[in-house]
Symmetry: C3
Subunit: 336 residues, 3 copies
């Protein structure tokens, strides 16, 4: 799905991101770039004075800066925004492929009972089983598989080689990158008197809210008897594992390779670093920040909006750093 | 593969799981549920008195309980089982889709030399290369790939987008969830005098025993010159990595995101938590329990049936907890 | 892709790997094996005297050994090499399937604008979008997907169910195992005043050098505005995650389940163990060795050719071991 970029006037970009133009608003911009790689026609952003100077020296045709750029004399237009990086991201969306290609490849296998919305793009080798519904404007990339009964909302983008198992429901504007598996069978077994394991029923559902974005090669299990839930706006990096019956709130961020065991809850606005391990039935309350590589024990509750937890078992950052320092000091002392 | 559920009499469910019915055995049950979500016609289970009370107040039509439920007066039948959760799991299997659909989709690419058993289900886009054998009753879901010479036993369920490389042999009733890769090339290199690496030959096999269940997006490497082996009844969660020449015993449980380096051995009945790292040539003896997030060093041997190891390097839980407490105490002391 | 093996004379194998033959150079060898599984016609290797004795007692028809084998009297030829394991790996390559099968399956979907080299093998269900280029001798296994504009060099081997997103360029002789995702969208968001996240533009490229080998189920993100780069000869194990804008040098080795956050750099010849977590904007300089399970903090620089770092936060191995010993000692002391 290649992109064809359009060009925009600086003044239109400024109006789109709520910035003030200093200089010529009629300059035409055809793409975004980093300061280091900018060419003529590109717009870049600067988060501080030093970067602004580099940006002005670069080949970029316009620069988004903060208040600190207001009094700079420059040979190219500067857009003054409250948050230059955010403004840049907003502007960038105008240059991305806005095309709504509409196509169903012949090699896609769509069951006759499936309800497919309008303006959808269904790639080659895509498999859509019975009773699936796909909302308007959604794209399903090559070789992805939607099992029976799956519901996908509007304007979703499902990457290549994705698997969505039965029992899964996605909201609108959900993004799932390549290779991720949604609605897999959870890991719950009961052991009999001979020491053999049998699967505890895993027949619940997986509900994914609007604007959730899921990286590549993730796995998210369906509920055992109830639901796994991921609420609106949450963003999940690559290779994150989410077990059965987990509930994740709104606007949560989870970095790569983190694992969340069954029945744990993560509150709204929490930030979870990479390679974190969260035991089962744990609770991360609203707004908590969990540092990368931390381990949260089963049933543990961590709370405090903006409080950083770190280490295994995770403790407030202050305590963790103190313990590291103590250990280092004692270890050196012994040496003396 | 959607499920059509059947209904059963309470007395038949009781007889299936070896429970005693107190109350009306002729009540008709049409599904399983959790206590919180139960509707009329559902059966639920209760592991303790408190849950039993909730279950009796719920809309469920029958409850599986332990001995503690024997003398309870209730408006609905109670099934008394030694292990209510196990009994529930056994009963649940009666409600899951028992249908043996038999089909080969036209878009599946099956090499003429492949031997395909009876009553198999071969989904759209499945690729079966030369000299593959697939046992009776096995299902291969959409877009999975079986490379040349792979052997899959009877009644296996291979999920969508799974890859099974040459050199792999699966027993009967093996489950592999979506996106997993079996029989991949191991990570063994030799470095030459110029500092460049060449692959050490990785031409061994991967043998997976009966009733092994493998989660989504796992990777299990074939042996280098010999075999990687996973024995009967072992259950593996999502995103587990198993290196070349590893040997895993019977009835082992391995939770999500754990990695096992080359040539390590795990004994029968061991339990390995999530995100555990096991170095190469290590040995986890029969029945050992390794806590989540632990690290087992290369060549290390850990032993003791039922003994819990934790931390990095992993040590008996008692020692680990003591060290954590010591560090916390010393750190607070310094502060005073 | 099955292998047909050829046979070779011992003297030809010796000349291929620069070894000296002691004994009959006319013995015919048809395969490689481990000492434990060798059959007649196999060649094996021994890294020490004890293994050499086992090898001579085995059914193998020839043995590669080091200088220590020079004066051994044996009933079968011994090949004396400087590095027996390296010599064995070199010899092994002669027995692997050298066949260059050439085929394009009908079910492969190749866009008409794609440039496909000669002697390529394009498996069933492969999807090649517009403007892709594939070099001579490259094989693309079943159900792999190359998105628009991807460039793959000569003699590459792309496994089944691999996804290569737009913006990715692979050199020659690159190997990518099943299920890996290259060029995925990086994890970079900006938060607006309502606490909602929007994606920072992720429109950069991913450049992979010659002779890079990538395991199964890895994820490697494209650059945000610039590039993610992996240079010549680097070898990457299964389930490794590499974030946007990361730069990895030549001949680097990265073991399974390691994660490298955005904008970090790893120098030439570094060795990174399994399950290592590297924060963003960190630098691992040339030749550093990072022990398995270590954590490198954001922006941290670790240096020293051949120096081993370990723990979280990673410190020189000597310090780490001392701290572990101190903690253990203090913990025992308290008990007394």
């Amino acid at each position: 799905m290649s992109s064809a970029t359009q060009s925009h006037l600086v003044r239109d970009l400024a109006s789109h991101c709520g910035a003030l133009v200093i200089g010529d608003g009629a300059v035409r911009i055809s793409n975004i770039a980093s300061v280091g790689s900018a060419r003529e026609g590109d717009i870049v952003f600067a988060s501080d004075q030093a970067t602004l100077r580099l940006a002005l020296d670069s080949r970029a045709s316009a620069v988004i800066a903060g208040e600190f750029g207001r009094d700079v004399t420059a040979p190219k237009p500067i857009l003054i925004a409250r948050d230059p990086k955010l403004a840049f991201a907003q502007v960038a969306s105008l240059f991305s492929s806005g095309e709504k290609r509409e196509r169903r490849y012949e090699s896609a296998q769509v069951d006759l009972s499936a309800k497919i919305g309008e303006h959808t793009w269904i790639g080659p080798g895509v498999v859509i089983e019975e009773d699936v519904s796909v909302g308007d404007g959604t794209s399903l990339q090559a070789n992805s598989v939607l099992c029976a009964g799956v519901a996908v909302g509007r304007d979703c983008r499902i990457g290549p080689n994705v698997t969505i198992y039965s029992g899964t429901e996605l909201g609108d504007r959900v993004v799932v990158q390549a290779g991720s598996v949604l609605g897999s069978t959870g890991f719950g077994y009961v052991r009999n008197q001979h020491g053999h394991y049998s699967l505890f029923p895993q027949v619940g559902r997986l509900m994914v809210g609007n604007d959730v974005e899921i990286g590549a090669n993730c796995t998210i299990d369906r509920g055992a008897l109830d639901q796994t839930v991921i609420r609106r706006g949450t963003k999940i990096d690559n290779m994150v594992h989410i077990g059965h019956n987990v509930e994740i709130g709104e606007d949560v961020v989870i970095a790569a390779q983190t694992g969340i065991s069954g029945s744990s809850r993560i509150g709204n606005g929490a930030i979870v670093g990479g390679q974190v391990g969260i035991g089962d039935h744990a609770t991360i309350e609203d707004g908590v920040i969990v540092g990368s590589g931390s381990g949260i024990l089963s049933k543990k509750v961590v709370r405090g909006k903006g409080v950083v937890f770190w280490g295994t078992p995770a403790r407030p950052l202050k305590d963790y750093l103190k313990e590291l320092a103590t250990l280092s000091r004692l270890s050196r002392k012994k040496e003396e």
